[in-house]
Structure formats: structure tokens, C-alpha cells
């Protein structure tokens, strides 16, 4: 390796370990939806998230009623299996792809 490539490697390695605090993630929420809810809900993640606007989902998240809302949309869903971290990520996912977001998920 030349000096340049060694330098590039060292810089990347150094900067790689600078991290931020882990936070809720819409991508993870999308994955959780695909794995745990898509089948029982009978609709894709996009259609599910479109059930509300961003503001409505945010309110539901703030009030801690996401579990209830999932249950009301997908009556057959076993929401008790959803852990808090699942709900956090799902909450981010539905806001990201809400009916007025203009975003379309792939799941």
C-alpha cells in the first residue's frame, strides 16, 4: 500500500469509531413491520403508515398509544410481543411514511 492508501485507511478507521447515541430508526421499524406485522395486517408497510398523517402518528407516539393503534388497524396482531424498542422504531417508521410524507417504503 502506498502512503496515500495507508493514510486513507488510518483516517477512516479513526473516524469510524466516533459514534452518536443510538436512536430510533425508521429503517429498523420497516424491518420489524415486515417481520412481525405485514402478514397479520394484510397490507404492506406503506399502506399501514398511510393510515394517519405525520402529525397524527406523532400524537399517537407521544401519547404512548402506538400499540393500541396497531391493534385497532390490525385486529389479529399480537401486539404484546412488540417490545418497547420495536415500538420506538415502528413509531419512527410510520411517521417517515405517513400519508402526507410523500415517501414510499419498500416493504
Amino acid at each position: 500500500m502506498t502512503k496515500f492508501t495507508k493514510l486513507a485507511l488510518a483516517a477512516l478507521l479513526g473516524l469510524a469509531v466516533v459514534t452518536t447515541t443510538a436512536s430510533a430508526d425508521a429503517d429498523k421499524g420497516q424491518k420489524i413491520y415486515s417481520k412481525k406485522l405485514k402478514k397479520v395486517c394484510g397490507m404492506n408497510g406503506g399502506d399501514f403508515a398511510k393510515k394517519h398523517t405525520q402529525e397524527e402518528w406523532e400524537k399517537i407516539n407521544e401519547d404512548g398509544k402506538l400499540k393500541d393503534e396497531i391493534k385497532s388497524i390490525c385486529t389479529e396482531a399480537n401486539v404484546d410481543k412488540l417490545k418497547d424498542k420495536h415500538l420506538e422504531n415502528l413509531g419512527d417508521f410510520v411517521v417517515e411514511f405517513a400519508s402526507d410524507s410523500g415517501n414510499v417504503p419498500s416493504c
Binding site: 500500500m1 452518536t20 402529525e55 410524507s101 410523500g102 416493504c107
Partner: protein
Amino acid sequence: MKKILLSTTAIATMALAGGNLGGITSFEQSDTAMSEIEALKARITALENEKKEAPKQEKSSDIKKLEKKIKRLNKKLSKVNAHDAFDNIKFSTDFRTAVDNINYKYNNYSYKGTDLSGTEASNDALITSRLILNMKSAPTDTLTFYGQLAAYYIWGAHLNGDEDPSFKSWSASSKASDTLFRVRRAYFVYSDDELPYSFSIGRRPSSDGFLINHRENEKEAGSPLAHITNMEVDAAMVKLKSDNLVEGSYLKLIYGRAHAGGMSTLYDATGYEPYAQDDGDVNENVDFFVALASLYNDGQYNLMGEHAIIFDTKGARTEVAPGAPLPDGSGLNKSLDAGTAQLTALSLQVDGIGNEINDFLDDTIAFASIARSAYDPDDGKELLGSTSERRGYSYWLGVKMPDMITDDGKFGLEYNYGTQYWTPMTWAEDTAIGSKLAVRGSAYEAYWNFNLMGEKNLPAQIRYTHVQHDYTPNIRCSGWVKPVDVDIESDDIRFSVSYKY
């Protein structure tokens, strides 16, 4: 209010002073006045109470009005948001800069009669940048447009895209070349939930497909199975939904064109025949038909299959070496349409090992894929140096797991193996040393995807690829070349940083 108070006070004063109020006796006067005073007092009290309560009532009704107004505004804002979001093309950026350290070690290799065995070739720092502008618009719930414009260039490069005849549109945005923006993807999808099918036409998401998206650090895979197809091509697609029969399943039927052949002039360089095709079966169009299926997908286990048929794929005439003069003196033995290629693959991805055993396994992805290529020449033609069908086989294994060092960082390991005649169409694979998936030999790869500075919008990668070619490398369309024994070791160490937003 003031008037009432004044009159009340005056009457009360007169009454208390024993004044004559128009010929009424003093007792009568007194009784009447007292009752009037009492009535007025009561009225005053009532009015004072009203006065005290009035602001409260006014305030609460104001708040209610404001709340209603906010609600109306929010509804309007949602409508504006939705309208705005779907009323235009939404752009996003993927700008990557990479440094590749490349080395080729020729242990046994000859090229056009020159023995290069024992020599090496390298590039200590190939620096490239790739700018992709992603476009998306959805004028209605059923219609969506997707597009990608890309410029993938070598720092300080010539406009070599024009100079290298092997540079084709099917890898135009995937091979580093010059600074021109090219169309990488442009297609619309019509999909109605009420209908059991959807369709799409355009320049397809046929590069960076299923499974290769992991090493490309792409969240979403392109459409085809990357084991056999990684090309930028134009096609029409019909998707038949079968999710109601098997979870997550569907079938896509795709017909497209990879090569528009035989056109001598766009104007009149060969006479007045713009866009006309030459006679004879020398340089025909190369069309393809693909059946692509998601066989099962429950979000964790995703099994996909693909069969592709490429018509009139290029090969050579028999008994004359490619490039040599033809016996009839009509020119050189150039590549020509020579037969049919069939590619088949079956790929399984497991997204999350086990069922919530721990976070590490939940976030680990493992995959395995097997594939076959079969090149069948027409009479009087040869493909891959043979007049009979030649089959090649390959398998591909990979795992991607959390790095346990950074947030969202992943380590990946992959292994590929291909036999002598293994010839997939993966020329748009973004590997500087040529498609590792097309290796006729073994390829080993390790990569680390992480977010630089912990920024989600700055994904970075360190990747090492080692390829052992046991037979002639297959790095571009060259069905007229016979794979022969070679011993070449290729190495590529890549460092890349992207800006994505």
C-alpha cells in the same frame, strides 16, 4: 350598566331621605321604595356576577375557537404536505468518493500471444467519485416514477467512455469513466392494490440487485438476482401478485433489449438509411426474457429465483479465430450473434438468525445462492469457444453482522466460486477489478460498512476483495472468447465515503 347604577343610587337616596314620590303615602312610599331597592340590589348583584364571569366565558370560547382554527389549519397543512410531496419529483443525493488500491499478479497468463506470466500490474490509488441523483414522483396512488442520473468518474480522467469500444450502456453508470451524467434508471410503475398485477416500463433497477446490495452498502436491493444479472438495461415488466397464495411471493416477467445491433448510420453516412438495420444475422439485436420470482418472503426468510434467456448473444464463426480475416475475404471474423444464453439462479437470504435470541443475531444477515449458465451456439457458430452447449456453475455465500464497535456498523464476509464456463451477465457490478460474481475460480471478500463520525448521512466502507482466476476472467461481454487455464490473483482494497441525503 353605568346608567342603571346611577338611577338606582338616585332612587335609593330619595327613598332614604323620605322624599315625596308623586302623592304616595309615606308607608306606601316606604314599602314600594324598599321593594324596588331590593329588586335593584338583586339586579346589581346579578350584574356584578355577570361582569365577573364574563371574561372567563369569553376566554374559554376564544380558546375553543382558536383550537378549532388550529385543527382546520392542521388539516389544511396535511393536505398541502401531501400535495407538495406528490406534486413534484423528489430528489435525493448519493455522492461517493472512493480510493481503490489494485493489484494483478499474473502467475500464468498470456494475452494475444504475449506471455505475461511472472509479471504484475497495479494502480496504487485509483480515485473515483460517483454522483447519483435519485428521483421519485407519484402523481397518483397508483402511478410512480423512479429515476437515477449518475456520473461515475475517475479523478483526472479522459473522456474514455468515448474511446473504449467495450464501454457499453449496460454498465455506463457503473464503471468509473468520465464526468458525464448518464441515465442509470428511469421507469414508471403502475400498481393498483385492487388489481392482481402491476407493470413497469423503462430503464430498469437491474443493477445492484438481490444480495449484492449488502456489499454495496445499499439498504434496498435492485430487482434481479445479482448472482446472474447486474446490468443497466431497458425493459418492460409485468408483475403478477401471488401474495395471497404464498406469503410475500410474486412473479415478474420482463422483456427487454440489451443491444441494438446493425444500425450503420443515424443520418446518411452509408446512404439514406437512418436507423435501418443491416441485412443478415451478423449484428442482430440482443433481446432478453426474464422470469423473476419471489418464491417466499416472510420478512426473515426470503427465497428468490430467476431464469433469464438472452437471444442472439454474441459469439464467433467456427474455424476462424476471432479477429482473423474471413476465408471469403469479406472482412474480419468479428463477433456476431451466435446462439442463446440461459442463466438460472436460486438465492436465499435469512434476515435475522433465529427468533429474537439476541440483538446480534437479530441484526445478522446470512445468504446463499446457487446458479448456472448455459451457452448454446447455433449451427456454424461457437459460444465460449465451443460448438456445443457449455454449462457453468457457481455458488455464493455471505454473512453480514453487527460490528459491535459503531452504531449500525456491519462487517461482511463473502465467498464466490465459479467453474470454467461460468458466464453470468454481471458487468455492471461495481468492482474495479471486474465482477467478482463472474469469477471462474474463487473470490473472497471482507468489508466493513459504518457511518463516518456516527453520521447516518455519511456511510463509509473499507473493503478487501481477492479474486483467484483459474480460467480467463469474464469481465465484459465476450461470448466469443474461450475460457482457458490461467492463474491470476487480483486484489482490490477500497475505501469509500458517501454523502447520502
